[in-house]
Amino acid sequence: MSSLTVLYALLFYAAGLILLAGLIFKIRQYAKTPAPLKIPTTPAPVTRGGVVWRMIREVVLFESLFKGNKWLWIFGWAFHVGLALVLVRHLRYFVEPVWTWLALIQPIGVYAGFAMVGGLLGLWARRILVERIRYITAPSDHLMLALLVLIGASGLMMKFVSHTDIVGVKAFMLGLLVFDWQPLPSDAPLLIHLLLVAILMIVFPFSKLLHVPGVFFSPTRNQVENAREKRHLAPWAAELER
């Protein structure tokens, strides 16, 4: 067992733990904090089913962003959909045997990798070139883009430039899941790729990546618009009536 394997195994356990614990903490916080007033951005759905449909459009199609800015929507959507497909494609490193559908979509995942990096570069270009976006950009926004671009680029490099031992990688990942550590191949692109992914996992619950759980808890998007038909009362507001 090389020290590298031990280091990466421990790193991924730590990253996984921080990601999970951090997200659970934030999601609990969002869920427990009351929304005392009805504030859906109207026109809004008047039924629970309508809200689910609005949320699906928001999360899958980025409907509001589409209304806001078409370039931003193209880059942002390409990145997110690319990322989602790439993540699905990576499932093959965590299941054995590989499901048929997962084997079939593998080629799509490769294109998705380019869409992801392309989208990210577009978003980054806007941060630099558009005066308004430059104004609202903090160093952490650049770092986040750099992190994601490097993850995407190092991943694509392993596919197209210098192949890594993916059988070994898979053995390492499956081993992590059952606490039976297997040696990690030690080529540079892979080590960089995995290190950056671990950093992303650690940063997730402390950063703007909280938009992922946040969108589901946004009262302007997830509330049923039925203020006149049903009395809506938060616990702390009810106290004021006693």
């Binding site: 504030i39 951005t41 962003l65 308004r132 969108v215 808890f217 203020a227 009395r231």
Partner: protein, 527 residues
Amino acid sequence: MADYETPQLRPYPEIPALQPDATAHLKPYPAAPEHNEALGFPGELVDNWQEKAIDKMGELLGKYRSLQVFLDACVKCGSCTDKCHYYQGTGDPKNMPVARQDLLRSVYRRYFTFGGKWFPSLVGARDLTEEVMDEWYSYFHQCSQCRRCSVFCPYGIDTAEISMAAREIMDSVGKGQKYCNEILGKVHKVGNNLGLPGPALESTLEEFEEEIEDDTGVKVRIPVDEEGVDVLLITPSADFFAEPHIDGLMGYAKVFHEAGVSWTVSTYASEAANFSMFIGSYENMKKAAERIRDAALELGVKRIMVGECGHAWRVAYSFWNTLTGVGHGAAEDDEYAQKLQKQLDPNYPAPQHICEFTWDLMQEGKLNIDKSENDHRVVTFHDSCNVARASRMGNQPGGQFEIPRNIIKAVCNNYVDMDIDTIKESTYCCGGGGGLLTDDLMEIRVKGALPRMEALQAVVDDYGVTNMAAICAICKSQFAKVFPYYNFEMDMILSTHQLVSEALILTGQGEQQEEEAPQEEEAATED
């Protein structure tokens, strides 16, 4: 005259280049100690204000999910950056919604997040200093809480929620704004924004009754404090004294008269507006709304109706049920709300908008309309921001857009809409909402009106529009004031129910005055 220039109307509006600190000098007058104290806030800036402000922020984060999520979730994508009318009119980057939020978010990050505590400059976190507080006071009073930004945000982040929280934090340490706090004090004390006492209100309304009778030959009543009637009308107090608001009020009276529905206004609850929303104070909002509940209980009315007012309709439609039980659907064991809800007629929405009432009557054929009375006009409609994006009318989402337009089209032959990007859910604020309708903020009001003025100019040029109708007291006052800056006549702005009033033929009207009825038959522009 003021030392600033009215913006030029642009035929093809573009996103303005950044002009840092263009409106950093704008600050509303601070509230006097007695104005703050009347609302339960410290009179003057407290000694340990930094500590208190951070504590208050922590308290609000625990009470409002919107604040917690909105401060966390923003990714700085920039979708909102060009959506605010104040940014469009001033070019000041801090009037971009995300940058306005960041004034508060930077402090949130510093005191409440890991990144901000340990790596402040990396994530744009700042200490709460006097300069930061001054910046808050300036720029959170350059937000009219119109929610336009929230339409275009992928997470629905609403800058209105942020500016309400910021104002509440400032109030909690004694840094209140004169306009809102002084007015709110009058509501708590007298019952309306003007501080107009009951007897004065009664004599004003008598004058209106006489005016309607002189006009139509029909005696139309505007009842005051009448018990046992069906409807309690709550309307912005501007409807009692300002132009063109009063013409709208006379329109409501005529509609009630023709419908044969008994109604009353209340001298105790003589204000629909609830400025507590502007300052984010739930307690004050509840206190002001309780006057309406109490008046409804005392007068024993079956229905509660609201006149033409934007933010007021938001509070009424979206919040009254929560605040005071004015609505339906309270739990069986909710004694507080049930006390009122058992009294209210379940066949009607509560509260009901006057436009919903009028449109229902029109559909039932109960109003005798002569559209030609408005033939000398070509009318467009300004969707008031808080009606458009924070409430509804009728049974369908979007009824708040259709019902007022249906009413106008039912009483006018010549109607056109402004550019689709400036109406309905994308409507622009008039520039005077959210507690900014005060002379000490005239510069931002004039500049913030720019996008609406441009859209209006376009339909004036293309279709010969002569009038813009609105359903909000603030919009009407604001437009009457800023129109002259953009070379429009101030009486171009109308109450929607003024148009109704002029086309409505009362039963018995014209029987004695047939021969003197003037006929205005100007050729109206066809589109």
